[in-house]
């Protein structure tokens, strides 16, 4: 049998703006199943805009370009349909929702996804078993699940909860938006180990980060540098090391010189 690596995500000439301010200026990116792509770049380059546009945040307007996810026009789908098709965004700032319990939230999310796929709701015992397994994976405290969603969680607990949710929802594409920001080294290790356990041949990741540190733990197949809304340089994991040593200025100069 010939194994053909499928194209999962294809972003072509993506331009997007918020409140009239142009942020993405013709971004191109291709992600295949099983790959981990790191997107790095200086502040204001458009990193978080990319994740917001892919997840379907309403305040961003796409003015040009296409995003295909497994052959479907991703930009046409509502945020919930993108999620149910298999896109998962781990938020940079996960919000607190008092009054909605973690467990109830996850049960609803999983069963809505199953409904979308034409499946019956998950059995309660299977759900609890899955919860236990995945919680152990990110070393999440059991008491957190009975509490309200992220309410009173520390920064590290919130990020771990994002990875826990990702583990529960089993997406095809995981987008990590600056998941490392604000984490101490122990939390960073836990979160990264969680992500690494979720890596497999079918699942792809886009890891958005400002710092190379995270990529010591989650080793990417490709590293892209985002600057002024476009990918200006791509390479392998060694590019991240180079950026760590030399900063972003040489990239900026290269770009200015070429333009």
């Amino acid at each position: 049998m010939v194994h053909k690596q499928e194209k999962m995500l294809s972003i072509k000439n993506l331009k997007a703006e918020i409140e009239g301010k142009k942020i993405l200026n013709g971004l191109n990116l291709e992600v295949k199943a099983g790959e981990v792509h790191a997107i790095m770049g200086p502040n204001g380059a458009g990193k978080s805009t990319l994740s917001a546009v892919l997840a379907g945040r309403a305040d961003y307007e796409v003015t040009e370009g296409t995003v295909e996810f497994e052959g479907k026009d991703l930009l046409e789908l509502s945020p919930e349909d993108r999620a149910r098709e298999g896109v998962f965004l781990a938020f940079q700032y996960p919000i607190e929702i008092p009054g909605v319990s973690n467990t109830n939230f996850l049960k609803t999310a999983i069963n809505e996804k199953r409904k979308y796929q034409g499946l019956e709701p998950m059995e309660a015992t299977d759900f609890l078993k899955m919860m236990r397994e995945k919680m152990a994976m990110v070393e999440m405290d059991k008491s957190l699940t009975s509490r309200s969603l992220n309410e009173g969680f520390s920064g590290g607990e919130k990020k771990r909860n994002e990875i826990f949710q990702m583990a529960m929802l089993e997406p095809k594409l995981g987008i990590l938006d600056e998941t490392d920001s604000g984490l101490d080294i122990d939390a960073l290790r836990l979160v990264s180990e969680g992500v690494n356990k979720l890596r497999n041949k079918e699942r792809a990741f886009i890891v958005i980060t400002h710092y190379q540190r995270l990529l010591d733990y989650i080793v990417p197949d490709f590293v892209h540098v985002l600057y002024k809304g476009r990918i200006v340089k791509s390479g392998d994991a060694s590019l991240a090391k180079e950026l760590e040593e030399k900063g972003y200025d040489w990239i900026k100069q290269e770009v200015e010189a070429n333009s």
Binding site: A55, S78, P79, E80, L89, F105
Partner: protein
Amino acid sequence: MFRISLFEFRIYREIMLVENIKAEFNLYKNQAEKSDFFLKREEAFAEFEKVGFPTTKNEEWKYTNLKNIVNQSFQSTCESTIETELMLSHAFLKDLTANKLVFVNGTFRTELSTIIETDSSIVITTLAKAKTAHSELFNKHFGKYAPIEGQGLNAMNTALLSDGAFIFVPNNKTLTNPVIIINIADSTDVNVLCQPRNLIIVEKSASLTLVETFYAVGNNPSFTNAVNEVYANENAHIEHYKIQNQEGESYHNNFTQIFQEANTNINHVTLTLSGTLVRNNLHFFMNGQNCNSLLYGLYMPHGTELVDNHTRVDHAFPNCFSDELYKGIMMDKSVAVFNGKIMVHLDAQKTNAYQRNKNILLSNEATVNTKPQLEIFADDVKCTHGATIGQLDEEPMFYLRSRGIPADVARKMLLNAFADDIAERIKIPELVELLEQEIEKKI
């Protein structure tokens, strides 16, 4: 000439209900025994004649116009012709193990009511029976707490009350099961006026769980004008739930006065699910130290419904605590009024009083008029108050949707979460469940 006749017509219309009331009282007067009770009613009637119905010129009624009530004619003694079972099918919590008192159009219905309490020292009966059977208690408490002076609607209730519950819990007694008072207004045949009047006496170190429910059936308008007097003697504990779910053209005015002696604990929750016009007046008076008064409310009007909650908490003694939270989910062109007044009297040092009113507008056409008020005469107190009116936040919506939860489901989850602050104050699980179902249905 034409204009004058129109003017006269308007005057006539406005006094329609007043004429009803006068005629009814005259009828009653000619038949009644000249007892103390009668004198009290006569006095109340005189006050009603003097004060009449409140108008929007009265600051306390600025946003709540009773013109649709006073311009109509209502009958207060009409029999209901609806079948028993059908009638109770409208009632919430009908399967809960509880002592049930059912009043249809203000009249007690023995065949629908059940008393399961076995302790004979605890009295669960009607006001009409208690007047003679427990005359000493009745005379000691009746009309002592709910003010009549300047209060036309209270005066009208006192003058022409239909019937109601009389509950007496003696010292150190606790009811095993709650008492549910089910009030049904049946306007199938005519416009109906119900004036329930409850008198609740909970003695020293005794406790009671009380649920009042209100329903309406029939296509004609109904008007419920209820008065509750609740007396909590030292160290008493009362859980008090009020559920208003009167559909169709139904008007409801409710005056509840809770009088607390020292060391008492009262938890009161008002759930307003439906009603054309609902006005709640909930007053607490703390007449001793170390009292706890908890007032919670949830309203979710739709269509053109109006819900008005006026509360007043009087801190008259030191070291008392009050906590108040009213929440509203506003749909369509509905209107809500909130006016919470906390009075901290000169002697009430070390008072802790908290008050909040929070509203979510689900429509551009809904209106909320809110006025949290504090009047503090003592100097060593901790009091806060505040109000918010806003829309459902976009951020939590996006978060839930980004996990695959459709917008309508996410919205319900967030509104349930909003209501949860109130639901968690309810200690009857069946009632909490019911509230969740109602939210599901209404939104």
